[in-house]
Structures are given as C-alpha cells and as structure tokens.
C-alpha cells in the first residue's frame, strides 16, 4: 500500500507530467496562437467590413443630398430679367412636388433680391425684391457655389438644413432651399449593417441628423439622447485603424465604424452589435477552447496509460526483487512488454531459478557432508540423485576405533581438559577420514565408526581401509605421546572387518544418518574392542585382500564375543617411524 502510493507519487507522477506536458504544451501553444491570429484577422476583417459599410452608407446619404442639389441646379440655369418669370415659378412648384424633402424654396436674382418664394406650408411670394445679400446662405454660396447650412431643429424637434446653390455665373442667381432632414429616414432606415446593425448621422457639432429610430431624431438637441451617439463617434475616432467598440443608447456593446459625408461635414456612423459582429470570432474561440479541452483530456488519458505501462513493469520488478531477495526463489516476475524491461525480468527470473537450484544443492550437500567427505558429497551431489544413499546390500569395510583408558581419564580430569583432548583427537581423525574419502557413520564419546566402499564404491577398499587405520593409529599415537608426557594413561585401538552389510540412510525428517547394518559391523566393533593400544586388528577377509601389500601379523584364532567359533585375527604392522602424514 505504501509502496503503491510511493509509486504514484514518484515515477508515475514524473512520467505522467512529462508525457502530459509533452502533448499539451505544443497543443496549447498552437491553439492559443491560432486563436489569437484568428482573432486579429477577424477583427481586421470586421474593421474593413464595417469601413466599407460606413463608406457605402455615407455614399447613400451623399446621394440623398446630391439628388436635392441636382434638382436645385435646374433653377439656376438661366439669367433673370426684370420681368416676373412664370416658367421658373412652375419649375419651382414642380420641384417642390418632386422632392418631398424640400419644405420651401427661395429664388434670388443676380443682385441677391428675392424674386420667388414657394412653400408647402406658408404662402408663396413673388417678386418681393427684398435684398437678401446679408443672409448667411447667400453670403456662403457666393464663395462656394454649393453651401450647406447648420442643422437646426424646427420647434426643437424636426431637423432642418438650409442649402444654397448658385449657378455658373452671377446673373442666374441663387436658390436657397429649406430641407427637412427627417426625410433622410427613408435612406437611413434602409441601411442594415449585418442583420441587426444600423447607421446614424451626426453633424459636425454632434447633433443627430438621421437615425432609424425617428423618435431619437425628433427629440432635438437632447443631451441624454445625443451623448451615447457622440461617444460612439469618439470611440471610432480614437480606435484609428482598429475596430471601434462602444455602447449604444440601449447599453448594448457595438462595433462601429464611421465615414464622412463630405459636403455638409457630417459623419455617418455604422454600428453592429458585438454579439453579432464578433460571432465568428467567438465561434472560433469556442472551437479552439473545445479542441484544447478535448486535447487536454486526451493527453491526460494518454499520459496516464503510458505512465502506467511504463511504471507497472518497474513496480513488478521492484516487488519481484524484494520477494526473491526475501528468499522466495520460486517467485516469477511476469512482464510481457517485449522490451528491455522484459529482458530484465527474464534475467531476474533466471537468476531466481539458479538461486533456487544452488540453494537446494547447498542444502543437499550440507546434508551429505554430515557423513560423507566433502569431495564425496560434491561427487554424490553432482551425480544428481540420492540413489547412492538408498538402502542396499554391499561389500563394505567397517572401521572402528576408540581410546583406551578414556573413561577412567575422563572421570579424573576437568571437563575442559576432556573436551580439549577430544577436540585434538577428532581433528586428527577427521582430517584423515576426509583424506581417504571414508564415510563417517557415527561417533560417540571417544569412539567412531567409518565405512569404506559405501555409499560410493572405491577401488581396493580393504587396502584403503588398512592405510586409513594405519594413518589414524600413527596420527593418534603422536597425540598419545603428548598425553602420556602429561601423565594421562590413554591408548588408541582400531578394528576393521570387511563383509556384506546393509547400508543406507536412516533417521527422521531432516535428521538423517548413513549407516551399515550387518555382522561385519559387529565384527569390526569386537575387533576394536579387543585391540590394545597401538594395535590395528583386522579379520581374515581384509588380511587376505592386502596380503603382500601391507605387512600383517597373524594373531592366531581368537574367540570373539558374539561368535561361536574362534576367528582368525591379524594385526597390522605399523611402520617403525611415524611419518605417514
């Protein structure tokens, strides 16, 4: 549990973060830059679009005014005479009918005297000859041919403008027209920017000339109505090349552009609700955001899966090594990734298998070594099976040996002394047993039993056993010499016999010994018992087999305990000089 949490906090998190960021960062960078560029493009496009709309709307307003001035132009074609001009009167009346926006017309001759006045509301006048040269319109048109007056509100409500036009020479006079600007409504209401956008016209000082909602125009110079409209025009002026944004009278955010209406110094402002104008931008932004989110989720999922796939085998390896380290050699790490990790796991598995085999062997050898010489134990183990240890009947040479006078000695001296002596004694014997690869079956106190030719058969077992016995005797006699110098009366005797015996492992659970059962064992034990110090007694079988190879002295027939007849016993001669080892 703790290890698992550690894993998620450590390697998994690192892998996860690295993989996640590796996907998300390029994705986000791309998405954001694309959205930003798209946004800039859209804004520019919108600015251009609104600019075109503004110029087109401006052209329509210009067209409205041009329509009026074109018509007025017909009235200043011919020079005035002193006579009343009936034709011109009819023309003026016809014009009044033709152009509904004109509320009244004043025709002046070359000397700026009023010759004709026609009106829709007031009474017409002919030949009043009033001098109008002081009029602003007359003064204006004398210098400019076409003169636009200021916008004024009739009864504080209807916007009117005075328009004057003169002919190509002074004698044709001047025509001054009062134009009801409310009639621009037809033009301005027809202008649609997008679906819900609109246009409106402000004059130089910022008074409203035309608006699709005629009631705004008819409020006259109402500051609260005009303020938001002027604010939009200011916003456009400030925005420069960028698209301008602001709020219309209803508080709706709008994008706006403006274009001049040249003659009368008006400005036409077109506006479109931002929600509509920026709809493609918002749609693109939402799309990008959606893609980013989807990409993020995908990256998260991908990073999670990959990180898991990468850390899981490592976790398995970690767990496996811990288990194997704890001695669980049969544990196998299951990784099927087909890469280095799998190879690593396979190596671990192979190592565990080898460790298991090795441990098993070690254990087996340790067991064998209890009764076999180490090299024999290795040999048996290398043979691969314990069959040699199974019970069977075979020819063996049993060798018994023990100390003489040991029991009396042990009763007299301190236990430390006894143990020290035994230790010396067994050290010497053990070396020899190992050297001759004999099998130690048992030892108790000062005596021990050794088998030759079992479980591993050897060449010439009797000879080997005799050499063994001789070396044991010589070796112990060295010790005995030392002991006797210390005043201990201890001797050493050996007995050996060859014959058929049942050999095999006996014991329980893991406590096994190798032993031989048969009369040969008893015989050897009896021979040992009857041997005096410095004596090695053998039976006839052994003696026969080593006859001629080692020096033996027949001891004659002896009655051996447990045997009805007397047996022929031989004594192995020891070399004079103790130099066997």
């Amino acid at each position: 549990m703790t290890r698992q949490r550690l894993g998620f906090g450590g390697l998994f998190l690192k892998y996860f973060l690295v993989l996640f960021l590796a996907v998300v960062i390029p994705l986000a960078t791309n998405g954001i830059s694309e959205a930003w560029l798209g946004y800039r493009d859209q804004r520019t496009r919108l600015e251009q679009l609104l600019g075109v709309e503004a110029r087109s709307a401006g052209a329509k307003i210009q067209g409205f005014l041009d329509g009026i001035t074109d018509q007025l132009g017909w009235l200043v074609q011919l020079p005035w005479t002193e006579e009343p001009d009936e034709r011109r009167r009819i023309d003026a009346l016809r014009l009044l009918r033709q152009v509904p926006a004109i509320a009244s017309l004043t025709l002046l001759d070359g000397t700026s005297r009023e010759r004709l006045y026609v009106s829709r509301i007031g009474l017409n006048r002919s030949e009043s000859r009033t001098d109008r040269s002081a009029d602003e319109a007359v003064a204006g048109v004398r210098s400019a041919r076409l003169w636009y007056g200021k916008v004024s509100y009739y009864r504080d409500s209807e916007p009117y403008m005075t328009l004057a036009i003169s002919g190509n020479r002074p004698s044709v006079g001047v025509v001054v027209a009062e134009v009801n600007l409310k009639l621009i409504w037809d033009v301005i209401a027809a202008i649609k920017i997008g679906q819900t956008g609109q246009a409106f016209v402000l004059d130089g000082p910022g008074r409203l000339v035309a608006h699709p909602d005629i009631s705004l125009v008819l409020r006259g110079a109402d500051e609260s109505t005009l303020a938001p409209l002027r604010e939009i025009r200011e916003a456009v002026r400030r925005a420069g090349a960028d698209v301008a944004t602001g709020w219309d009278a209803d508080g709706i955010a709008v994008a706006a552009a403006a274009a001049p209406v040249v003659g009368p110094d008006w400005t036409i402002v077109v506006e479109q609700p931002l929600s509509e104008a920026f709809r493609p931008i918002y749609a693109a932004l939402w799309r990008t955001l959606g893609l980013l989110l989807a990409g993020g989720v995908f990256a998260c999922l991908l990073a999670f899966i990959l990180a898991r796939r990468m850390t899981k085998p490592i976790h398995l390896l970690e767990e496996g090594t811990q288990r194997i380290g704890a001695g669980q050699f049969n544990y196998r790490i299951e990784i099927k990734t087909g890469d280095e990790l799998q190879r690593l796991a396979d190596s671990f598995n192979a190592m565990a298998a080898e460790l298991a085999v090795s441990q098993e062997r070690q254990e087996r050898i340790a067991k064998l070594k209890r009764f076999l010489a180490p090299q024999v134990a290795e040999l048996v183990d290398r043979a691969g099976d314990d069959d040699v240890l199974e019970g069977r009947r075979t020819e063996v040479v049993a060798v018994f040996c023990d100390l003489r006078g040991f029991t009396a000695f042990s009763a007299k001296v301190a236990p430390e002394e006894v143990m020290s002596l035994l230790s010396e004694y067994y050290d010497a014997l053990g070396r020899i047993i190992t050297k001759y690869e004999a099998t130690l079956t048992s030892f108790s106190g000062d005596g021990l039993m050794v088998l030759v030719n079992a479980p591993v058969p050897v060449a010439d077992p009797a000879l080997k056993a005799v050499d063994l016995a001789v070396e044991m005797q010589l070796s112990v006699q060295d010790l005995v010499a030392g002991w006797q110098r210390q005043g201990y009366r201890i001797g050493f005797g050996v007995g050996l016999a060859k014959g058929s015996a049942t050999v095999g492992r006996i014991g329980y659970e893991s406590r096994f010994d190798y032993t031989a059962i048969g009369s040969v064992v008893n015989l050897a034990a009896r021979l040992c018992a009857s041997a005096t110090d410095r004596e090695i007694l053998t039976d006839a079988t052994v003696a026969n087999e080593v006859n001629g190879k080692r020096a033996l002295n027949p001891m004659g027939l002896r009655l051996i305990k447990g045997y009805d007849e007397k047996l022929l016993v031989y004594r192995v001669s020891l070399p004079e000089k103790p130099s066997a080892t």
Binding site: R89, R97, L123, D156, E158, I214, G220
Partner: protein
C-alpha cells in the same frame, strides 16, 4: 379525510391551471376612439393596422382593439373616452382630430394616449412640446390646420379675379379660432376678402352654399376639421349642385367629385399612429416618443370637376399637384 384533501388539491390545481391556460394568449387591448362611423374610417383604419404591424402587432392575433365610434356626434367623445379608460385598455388611440385627443386627455391621466390630429398639439394644449411631449400623451399631427391658408392661396390662384372667398368654419372645433386668424392674415397678403360661414351639423351645409353663392364668392375654402373631412361626399355633391369650386383638407373630397384638396397625408399620419401604439405596447414611454409631424402635404385636383365647373386650372397649379384626377 386524507383522500378528500388530495382530491381538493387536484381540483384546486386543475382550477388554477385551466384559466391560466385560457389566459396565456391574453392580448393587450387597444382602445380606439374615433369621432365618426367605421365606413368613412375604413382607409384610415387600414393605415393604422399597417402601422401596428410595423411594430409587430396584428389585430386578433396578438392584440385586440376596442372601437368606440362617436358617429359624427362629437359631444359623445368624452363619454366614450371615459368608457375606454374605465376598461383599463393598454393604450388609448384618439384618432381623427383634436376633439378625440382632448376627450381622451380628460378621461385618463395614466393610460398612454396616442393621438392623430391635424392641429398643432402644443397650441391646443394637448402636449407641452413636440420633442418632449410629457405626461401620458404623444401622437401624430398631419399639419392640415397649419396649411389652411395655402388652400386660400390655391383658390386665389384658381380664381385670381375673385375679390372674395367664402370660408367654412366649424365653430365647435377647437382650432377654428386660430385657423380663421391665419386665413385673415393670408387674405390680407393676397388682397382678398373673406366671408366666414359657420356650420357644425350636416343640416347647415346647404345654407352655407347658398350664402356663398349669394355673396358671389370665388369659391369656398374649408377650414381643417374632421367633421368636414368625413363628409366629403355630401360636400362634393353640394359643390356640383351649386357650381361652387371648393377646397378641403381631405383627398376624399376630390375623389368624391370635389374640386381640390390640400392637407396632410392621412394615410401617413394614421400609419404612424399605429406604429406608435405598437411601440407603446412594446413598453416604450410616451415621453420618449416625440410628437411626429407628417412629412407629406398633398395637393389633389379633380380635372373632371374643373371641367364641369368650367374652371381652367393654371399650369402652375397642375404642376404642383401630387395627384390629378382626370
């Protein structure tokens, strides 16, 4: 006991939902006050409904209209207006002249009134100003009253040799005084005399024509007045019978066989009244809706009548005419 409770709950819920469903398409009601009967108003009503449609309202579908017709008896207008005000209509449309507007103004101070008239609503005291009407009124003025002097001018142009013209005045009209003053000033400027004749009922029409003939008037100039305007057919018949050229405010007159008319385009004024009524239904305040003046003042001449009366129409007049009936 509990079951009865449950049943009562269900019954209550049903009783609550059923009328609610019946009321779901509850339509705002427009109170429509007019001084005449529906027949002469048909063309005006059509224009009014067109205007309503501009604001998104169609009678019978999402708006209901309660009509009150004074049938030419203008004294009934205050009672009819009070009746509509009592019905708590969503907006009260006072159409066809100053008397209806004034009656509506007296009837309610809360319900928004949209008027349609020919006179100057400021001069008549209906509103404080054109750009900021104030109070609960706004509406359309067709300029017909203001241009009554132009009618005298046209008549003078038609009969330049006539020394006097008869002027028909409805003394009950709130604008009669100002119109007569206006005409007197114009007559002075034109150098003609005026013979003022009063008529406020149909019964006085004939006497008026007799008087004009007796006075050898060059023609009759009718002041702007809805009572005259809605009786164009009778007046046209009388003109022909008495061979008396006349000019009124309404194009109905030359259409019915009269000689000439000059006045505001009532189609436009009624249409805008409809549009304003719709905007009020949409929640706009009357103080935000300036009084509109119609932009179109039209001259209509019936050449057949001119021929019948042996009158030669000068070309200047023909060229000024918006409509010439041949």
């Amino acid at each position: 006991m509990r079951r009865r409770d449950v049943l009562r709950w269900i019954g209550g819920a049903a009783a609550w939902t059923l009328p609610a469903r019946a009321q779901t398409p509850v339509m705002p009601v427009i109170g429509y006050l007019a001084p005449e009967s529906p027949r002469p108003f048909a063309s005006r009503l059509k224009a009014f409904r067109d205007g309503l449609a501009e604001a998104g309202y169609v009678e019978g579908r999402n708006v209901a209209i309660e009509y009150r017709w004074a049938e030419g008896n203008y004294t009934r207008l205050p009672a009819l207006a009070a009746d509509l005000a009592g019905r708590k209509v969503a907006v009260l449309v006072a159409s066809g002249g100053a008397p209806a507007a004034l009656a509506a103004k007296t009837a309610t101070k809360t319900i928004t009134i949209v008027f349609e008239m020919g006179g100057d609503p400021v001069a008549l005291g209906v509103v404080d100003s054109l750009s900021r009407p104030g109070g609960n009124l706004t509406g359309i003025s067709s300029l017909s009253v203001e241009v009554s002097r132009k009618r005298l001018e046209f008549m003078h142009e038609l009969r330049p040799n006539a020394a006097s013209f008869a002027v028909a005045v409805n003394p009950t009209s709130p604008t009669s005084g100002s119109q007569v003053r206006n005409l007197q000033m114009a007559a002075e400027a034109l150098g003609v005399r005026l013979h003022i004749m009063n008529a406020s009922t149909e019964g006085e029409f004939e006497a008026m024509f007799l008087s004009a003939t007796r006075e050898q008037a060059g023609g009759i100039v009718f002041t702007s007045d809805p009572y005259f305007a809605f009786r164009s057919t009778q007046l046209a018949d009388l003109c022909l019978r008495y061979s008396m050229p006349a000019v009124t405010q309404s194009r109905d007159f030359p259409t019915a066989g009269g000689l000439m008319s000059y006045g505001g385009d009532f189609m436009q004024s009624h249409r805008r009244a409809g549009s304003y009524a719709g905007r009020v239904l949409n929640g706009e305040k009357p103080s935000d809706l300036p009084v509109q003046l119609v932009t179109k003042v039209e001259l209509v001449i019936n050449l057949k009548t001119a021929k019948a009366l042996s009158i030669n129409i000068p070309p200047a007049l023909i060229s000024s005419a918006d409509t010439v009936i041949e």
